[in-house]
Symmetry: C2
């Protein structure tokens, strides 16, 4: 296994040590082997060191972390999970924290501060540079999950009436303070965003050509745009960075693709968790009690629905006592309705999230789900009819279960596709609430339909 | 609504037309208004044109597409969905296709050819340049979903013993044929990858400095690496491109982050679909019959499980006839077990996908899920006991349902976390098969436990 892994990701020979991972080092660090630990902190990639720190006991982690110089500490710190960052903030001295905070990019600071409690945040804010403080306060005003929170405020700009030669000089100056420059933003004399130019095109250009002639148009993102929308922008236009503007169209920051990659991953996790009845705040590292609490909300909601369903069944207790075989068959109808409903929910919810289900094609999607429900209801109904005939040899019971299956699966397709759309229209997240409503429908209707048909048709 | 949208994504004034979307244009295009259609093709962003084309009737789409020059056609073509690309390939003349294909990047070509049937692919391969043909055939040999398929073969390289001045000249030459240069790959005299240098650092550098002194180490990706692993690499190291190497460590291509963004989105959709019992090949545009077929497989598998479950219930038909109230209560126990099991599956499957659940922490995760199961089983069991007492006023039935709930939810936590891990170990995708096994368990065990306890305890 270990050997296979090694083969998959190869390391450029010369600098193998840069990508050292920790496994073999744990013991050395626990024994406070300063020589080896220092070498590791010096040579390994910050992302790998962060992974090591997450795996170490907290005291060992702190020891390792403090061996790095300021720049290294910053690089490692931003790679840590939110939980671990909070732990570090609690444990490091105020001076240590504020020197790290002063080195962070604006989006990284904001991310950190949104995790801290108010008191701790104020305490740190009071120790750091006033200009930085202003900047952090401004960015914290943007709502969570918006473009304003994702952006950072370091980027390179040139003026559209400069020529390429002068523009390169401007970029050189900016480059010293900006970690990544892929694209340069072009402004007019009023500092209003007019377009972009790629760094490589600037280098290729004739030094005398004016920027205006080379720049490409760019669609800017308003600071209040939802991060899901931002992710769609990046996917659609295949860019590595995008400008963020205020109400007046003035550029106030840029979003880079590495942050968007995290957004896409986060949003997907949120959808999966919500569909599965788990809070998006849960992770492998959340405490047992916090997990218990979050999940109980979901389970109790479902219990309420289940009790309602039970009361539907209890209406037919007389019929069940008369034909007891109905008791073993009824969960099949309800359960299959739930499965078919879940399929419809899955397609609709995911395509709402990715932006593929729009105001234009929703009707076609619902119609398709309804037809699928009917066809699969017919097909599954036929199979159930046949199997019931084979094992129970009762034509009326077989007809009832087959018919109930057809009806319940058709309803499941319709409800499974309409409910998420209604929830979306009501601005409720379809991922979180669809399955409750749909399961309630398919369960109650499944039992009602099967037992009702049975009490009418079977004498 | 329309007004709100406009505010969210703003367009740099000067070039509004570049981001025109089609809605208002549909009619003009249907009426073959060549003037307006040509303006649109000239000015709009290829990604927006592609969106328009997807929404138009096919004949209108073809008319619009053919108005673009070759470069524009290529840019639009790569933005189309796989389905639409296939439609175009069927309809365009062989000459039109081969000129487009010759312009595509290597990963785009491979992507296209993997969608075509063998015959059509051969036909096109025979019309294009021999060098390109070789390249396409080579890349098609990499397995689907591997790094080799994702990479493209255009990138900029310099030698480690060059100085910055000479390196910039090399990059200038490469830049003419390479769409995006963010990072330059550094080779030794044997063309073996030694490191990278950012374009901006090259520009900042003293012209006389040797590349070797400025380059940073880089971890290369083997061509056979799974794309999910590739996505994790990009997330961990926050890079915009990464080198792909062959068995001997020679660089054979590079993967760019825009492709990775699609991979992350695709893999998330695959997980969500599979967890919901939908084939990852389904989309809003797949045909009704293909959807029906895929979903029936899932439904029939579930039907089989449901029939097994029914046979468990039928063992207790005597007890149910004696105490008919059990019939309405038994689905509650089974259903709640299913819900709790789904919660555990969701956490475990998602964290396997994102790489957070590893060989080191799986045991802690299972233990936690088991404890959550016990605690929530106790809590939900207590609520169920109380509600049953209130409505049915039967102490023994209330005890039985409370106890069965406790046991079934504990089992659900254990099974819901262990099954995905076992499947992963057996190299079966946990997302696709977990819920079948877990639901089978919680259903059968739920009924067995509840009805079994009832027949023992209630006289």
């Amino acid at each position: 296994m270990a050997e296979k892994k090694k083969k998959e990701i190869q390391i450029s020979e010369a600098e193998t040590k840069y990508f050292l991972t920790a496994e073999s080092l744990h013991e050395e660090i626990e024994n406070r082997n300063i020589e080896i630990a220092t070498k590791y902190i010096e040579l390994a990639h910050p992302a790998d060191i962060a992974e090591t720190i997450e795996a170490l006991k907290f005291k060992d982690a702190l020891f390792l972390f403090r061996l790095g110089d300021l720049e290294k500490q910053r690089l490692i710190f931003v790679e840590l999970t939110d939980e671990k960052q909070s732990e570090f903030v609690d444990e490091l001295t105020l001076k240590e924290i504020s020197t790290i905070v002063e080195q962070l990019d604006s989006d990284e600071v904001t991310d950190l501060f949104s995790e801290l409690d108010k008191e701790k945040a104020e305490e740190i804010l009071n120790t750091i540079d006033r200009v930085d403080t202003e900047m952090i306060r401004t960015q914290l005003n943007f709502s969570e999950g918006s473009a304003g929170r994702l952006m950072n405020t370091d980027y390179a700009t040139v003026y559209m009436n400069e020529n390429a030669y002068r523009a390169i000089s401007s970029v050189r100056r900016a480059a010293r303070n900006t970690e990544d420059i892929y694209v340069i933003y072009v402004m007019d004399e009023n500092d209003s965003l007019k377009g972009i130019i790629k760094l490589k095109d600037l280098i290729l250009a004739n030094p005398k050509t004016r920027i205006q002639k080379m720049m490409k148009p760019i669609k800017a993102i308003h600071y209040n745009t939802d991060q899901e929308e931002v992710a769609r922008y990046f996917q659609k236009y295949s860019v590595v960075s995008a400008p963020v503007v205020d109400d007046s169209g003035k550029m106030i920051g840029r979003i880079t693709v590495d942050d968007v990659l995290n957004v896409v991953q986060e949003e997907a996790t949120e959808d999966i968790y919500r569909l599965g009845g788990v809070s998006e705040e849960e992770s492998l590292t959340t405490s047992l009690w916090s997990s218990v609490k979050h999940r109980l909300i979901w389970l109790n909601t479902n219990l309420f629905i289940a009790l309602l369903t039970a009361s539907v069944v209890s209406l037919f207790e007389g019929t069940i006592q008369r034909i007891v075989i109905l008791a073993s068959l009824m969960p099949i109808v309800a359960g299959m309705g739930g499965n078919a409903g879940t399929q419809a929910i899955t397609i609709v919810v995911r395509n709402i999230s990715t932006g593929e289900l729009t105001n234009y094609n929703w009707f076609a999607a619902v119609r398709k789900e309804f037809f699928i429900g009917i066809i699969n209801g017919f097909s599954v109904g036929l199979v159930t009819f046949t199997v019931t005939m084979l094992f129970r040899n009762d034509i009326w019971i077989s007809i009832v279960i087959g018919l109930a299956m057809l009806i319940n699966l058709s309803i499941a397709g319709l409800v499974g596709s309409v409910v998420p759309l209604i929830l979306k229209f009501l601005k409720i997240d379809p991922a979180i609430a669809s399955s409750i409503f749909v399961t309630a429908c398919t369960d109650m209707f499944g039992f009602f339909c099967f037992l009702g048909l049975a009490s009418i048709l079977i004498k």
